[in-house]
């Protein structure tokens, strides 16, 4: 009721008030009222002016820069003080100057009002953002603003949003016809907040429904169904996307392992720590760029690619030369020794970089998102990681299938002694292959640094997952690893939606355990006459 009166008053004010560059001080005084309801009403009145002054005053208010002294309001800007009504500078600081207090309810009204004002911005992006914000927070007080914006708005996308915002605002109108129209309009929405608003209208309050009219209720139910359908589609799409993104992270983590374990048969439990090395390489490069080329910090990540690769590869060579080489053909011992290596690496990272997680910032070109469909927002960093995974994958493929080194590695894999006989330097190939596997893990770690916490323990969480990918895909099969990683990623994300993250993880692990029992050779393993072991 109060809102209704407020909006009527507003309407009157809009017609009467002449267009001049100052606000009626009486209107402003309401902002300093003691009662929150009065304050909110005054905010709506000011907002309805929809001019630069209103924006100035309300922005100041939301930043806690609006002060009151007596019955006059001032805007503080640092040391300077201006009259809120006229915008004229005030020289003398009036006595009893005090910031207006704003509680949460007032603040949300203020935010809506400011969003309403931004609807008249000349920037399309700002208008779009404002319209999106109002989609689920508009109320009747903002109706006049919305109507005016609808009249002037040319952009179709913004108009659609504004219509939904208007419908939201009129959903509680006293007039049944208006509510009916609002419900109809809202069926075009794909906003979960609108859906819950509609659901609230179907609730019973005491004996009566919140929405008294049967016809409107039917319309609302219909609208909810429409929204649900759209939400489900958007949900599935974004799950597939996040699943692919998770899959490409798994793939990046597992690709190196596909070489060291899949091709060379080395169980490297320190693989996760090679990821960590790559991630810390990104952190270190970020530090270097910040210290020396602060203007180019956005490009530290590109510079970190070779650094991460070679740092991890160097650690890998060290591991291979000092420990793993002596354990070829003894997988269980290799497993234990590399676990020991992983502990040493973790502790070394703690000593060098501290036990706490370090902060690795996304470069500017990786932040932000694109909205492909309403509610399907794809963050840039994830898109870039998917692309990066594809890039690394093709690199590995080329390396293994199109280079002499790859040929040697495959030869050593198939028949070590024969390869040695025809002059392949097997020991050097082992080291090189291990270095490449480690380097690729470093690249994986670099990618991880953009979306996950970077800390000494970060690698431990990935080791089981990466092994699962390699094992599931079939040892030594790149294609298998890709299918396994993507399949696991998407399946995990869908299961998460259904059962929650932890249960999803458990289900995936249980699935893999069962799967390995059925097909120990993995998805893509070759059938063959295997030699008796």
């Amino acid at each position: 009721m109060k809102q209704l009166i407020a909006s009527l008053l507003l309407f009157a004010a809009m017609i009467i008030s002449p267009a001049h560059a100052a606000i009626d001080p009486a209107m402003l005084q309401g902002l300093a009222a003691d009662d929150s309801d009065d304050k909110i009403a005054a905010i709506a009145k000011v907002a309805a002016l929809a001019d630069a002054d209103a924006l100035r005053v309300l922005t100041a208010m939301s930043k806690d820069n609006l002060m009151a002294a007596g019955d006059k309001l001032y805007v503080a800007d640092g040391d300077k003080l201006t009259d809120a009504a006229t915008g004229a500078a005030v020289d003398a600081r009036p006595a009893g100057l005090d910031t207006l207090t704003i509680n949460n309810r007032v603040r949300s009204a203020l935010d809506s009002a400011l969003a309403g004002l931004r609807l008249f911005s000349t920037s399309r992006d700002k208008r779009l953002a404002a319209a999106r914000e109002l989609q689920d927070s508009a109320d009747e007080a903002l109706l006049p603003l919305l109507e005016r914006a609808l009249k002037s708005e040319q952009d179709a996308a913004i108009r659609d949003m504004l219509q939904i915002a208007r419908a939201v605002a009129t959903l509680q109108s006293a007039d049944g016809a208006i509510r009916l129209q609002a419900a109809k309009d809202l069926s075009a929405s794909s906003n979960p907040a609108v859906k819950s608003m509609l659901l609230a209208r179907l609730q019973k309050q005491g004996d009566a429904y919140a929405e008294p009219d049967d016809k409107v209720r039917a319309e609302i139910e219909d609208a909810i169904k429409q929204i649900d359908k759209r939400l489900a589609r958007a949900d599935a799409l974004s799950r597939i996307f996040t699943g692919l993104s998770l899959g490409s992270i798994l793939l990046l983590a597992a690709l190196g392992l596909a070489i060291t374990y899949g091709v060379m048969g080395v169980i490297n439990m320190a693989h996760g720590e090679l990821l960590m090395v790559g991630a810390y390489a990104a952190y270190a490069m970020q530090g270097v760029f910040r210290a020396h080329w602060p203007n180019y910090t956005d490009w530290y990540l590109v510079a970190a690619i070779p650094v991460a690769f070679f740092a991890a590869a160097a650690v890998g060579v060290l591991m291979e030369r000092t420990v793993i080489r002596f354990l070829y053909g003894r997988p269980l011992e290799t497993l234990l020794a590399t676990w020991g290596l992983s502990l040493v690496l973790i502790q070394a990272a703690r000593v060098l970089f501290g036990a706490q997680n370090v902060e690795v910032a996304n470069p500017g070109w990786m932040s932000g998102a694109i909205e492909v469909l309403p509610n399907v927002v794809l963050p840039w960093n994830r898109i870039i990681i998917i692309g990066f995974a594809a890039f690394v994958l093709s690199l590995v493929w080329l390396l293994m299938n199109r280079t002499r080194l790859g040929m040697f590695v495959r030869a050593v894999t198939q028949n070590r002694s024969m390869a040695g006989c025809v002059g392949v330097p097997t020991a050097r190939i082992d080291t090189l292959a291990f270095a490449i596997g480690a380097g690729i893990a470093g690249l994986g770690g670099l990618a991880l640094s953009q979306i996950a916490n970077v800390g000494p323990d970060m690698g431990q969480g990935y080791i089981v997952d990466s092994f699962m990918v390699v094992v599931l895909g079939g040892v030594g099969q790149l294609a298998g690893a890709v299918w396994a990683a993507m399949g696991l990623g998407v399946a995990t994300k869908f299961l998460e939606g259904w059962a929650g993250a932890v249960i999803a993880k458990i289900l995936v692990l249980v699935f893999i355990i069962v799967f390995i029992q059925k097909r120990p050779q993995g998805l893509f393993a070759m059938k063959g006459r295997f030699v008796e072991s």
């Binding site: 070759m526 059938k527 063959g528 006459r529 008796e532």
Partner: protein, 284 residues
Amino acid sequence: MKVAAKVTRPADAGERENWDDSGSGGMAHPVTEGELDLSHGVILYLDDITVSFDGFRALNKLTLSIDVGELRCVIGPNGAGKTTMMDVITGKTRPDSGTAFFGQTMDLTKLAEAEIAHAGIGRKFQKPTIFEHHTVFENLELAMKTDKRVRRSLFARLRSEDYDRIAQTLTTIRLEHEADREAGLLSHGQKQWLEIGMLLMQEPRLLLLDEPVAGMTDDETERTAELFVSLAGQHSLMVVEHDMAFVEALGGKVTVLHEGSVLAEGDLASVQADPRVIEVYLGR
């Protein structure tokens, strides 16, 4: 041969149950002689067996049979399917098609390795597989025909006749002075003999021997041939061998395998005279 296989009655469900008591946490019941039906004088039928790996046909409609008490030699160039055939008989590899019967009633393609071993088929691998960390005595003890279920093995004690049997076998394989040595320390030829000894301890009806004299001295080879000839009659033997002198010494019927099926069959002289066999061995 095919006719014989076709009139064979497939193993009925009732008999299968005796073999599959996996629920009881143990091993199949020990075989009593009556369960192996040798009424037609044939101990092993392989009929129309095909095994392929990734499109490669290791066995191609192989049909072969071995009579009770026969000593059969199987020869053939590398990749002819000799080892795969043994894998099929011992249950290690399942054929894509075809049947394998032990006696008249026992369908080998449906039994597990241990069940087949219990039924009375013993196998010697190409590479001697013995328990290198056990003593020679223990190797023979483990091979001895007895109830091999977990529960029995926990409280098993050797009876004096068991000692006698082991001592007898030790003499047969000429390892009586090595009884307490770790088997891994034996010479290659001795290992081969030990594995043959283990096979004998199993008291199998049919022995499959994959290149049993590889790595033996001439003297040892000769003695092995004698042993095998003496075993024929009470046991049936199938010997895969490349050593023609050894095959000749054994003197039994010879089967030539080529590209997964039987190329020729007969005594050694007639097989060696067969132009197709000569072509296969000497190459095209």
